[in-house]
Symmetry: D2
Subunit: 139 residues, 4 copies
């Protein structure tokens, strides 16, 4: 794959580090990268015309995280501006794997593979990702 | 009112300060006292035979916080053990005011007045606090 | 005071409601408004040329919240976009009171008075707010 | 290894699910399992005579999470009581891998492998885990 294509498929969303995100060590509390990653996924969904509230209300669907593998590489600090990325790495009928990164400039703070499944809101049963959404994801 | 009575009405619940609760300043992130206060209220409700899940499922009721006044007096630190208290200060038909404190030993870290209302889960309309619950509260 | 002046002094910052901000009731967990309010205060400070990291590193100062009075009026929902405002309401030597609001369009979700003090990072002793900063605040 | 030995090495810590832990889906917000896992690790450290505050103050050491692999299996609900476990899976000079589980009764909600490293508080350089601590860990 060429670099231009890769860039085209990679969505990114800026996140600022606030007091609430830091801990006793003076750096971002590591569990909060999962929050940053999710904000970027939500905005990526929104950019494709899907938002959580509407998916839940109109189709009774929610996306849930099934598995996460995260490497915490460097420690981001208060006031840092991170560029959280989302890139589809694998897609199946009822789930997908997303590669996500949290760089600060050219330095990687954290990277992750996040497996997200589509389930019915009522009983958490897996269902197929809506086709109009699935076909917009290039993986 | 005599001191013995006061102690009898005051419920307390221990909360340990973990990494997740601290911030860049090395102390408890102030907004987290609201979480500590709520844990104590939840356990106070449970001690009176009411739990959130059951109130929601069986009676369609949830308690919501309408107003909070909080003084942040001293800064609790990682590993501290706080004794969060709940004491009814005022009761009305559909709401109540609770006095809450977060001492560490004999030193007060934070104190608050929290107004809690009882609402219908569906439309957030105020409803009377269930009488079997209200009569157990001495305010 | 005329409305134009008021608008000029009021800083505002957009906050999107994400999954992490909601609770069991399907709405924003009330304690999270304190986080939203703080993000707006941080950006307001930054807009005046002060950021937390630099204040701490260069001058050994941190701002801490001493008191908060918050009214929770309506419940914001997932995907909502809130316009968090900051408006100085009172200024003293070592502290200030800020009026903050969280409207969604024309409806108020929550409003607060937040008292913030300037302290030394080392021992949490109150110190005068740096004059170059204080004189930029119109209260 | 026999089952008795395994049980002996497995530390466990109860965590109650509060409002603050839930999200829009009515269940525990998945990122919060990382918090639950950390509370149990902190208590496991404390049970071995080490606490974060003292390690930082006396030896200038902090434990940081380097990598986490988490499977989110079932969704815990408000008021649930989870039994968070910690079991050493691998130990090296400056890091260790811990297996952690979050069951509710006999059902697994989430399971994880967490790699924790020991670093100097000042510059985040890896250092050997203190021997008096390392020898108490059976992995």
């Amino acid at each position: 794959m060429q670099r231009e294509e890769q860039r085209a498929r990679t969505f990114s969303w800026q996140v600022r580090v606030y007091y609430e995100d830091t801990d006793f060590g003076g750096v971002v509390y590591y569990a909060n990268y999962l929050r940053f990653f999710e904000r970027a996924r939500t905005e990526w969904l929104r950019a494709m015309g899907a938002d959580h509230q509407r998916l839940a209300a109109e189709q009774g669907l929610v996306f849930v995280v099934r598995r996460a593998e995260i490497n915490f590489v460097r420690a981001a600090r208060l006031d840092d501006l991170l560029e959280i990325t989302v890139e589809p790495a694998e897609k199946r009928l009822a789930s997908m794997v997303l590669r996500q990164r949290a760089p600060r400039g050219s330095e990687l703070m954290a990277g992750a593979l996040i497996q997200v499944a589509c389930v019915r809101r009522d009983d958490y049963r897996p269902v197929a990702i809506p086709p109009e959404f699935l076909e917009r994801i290039q993986a």
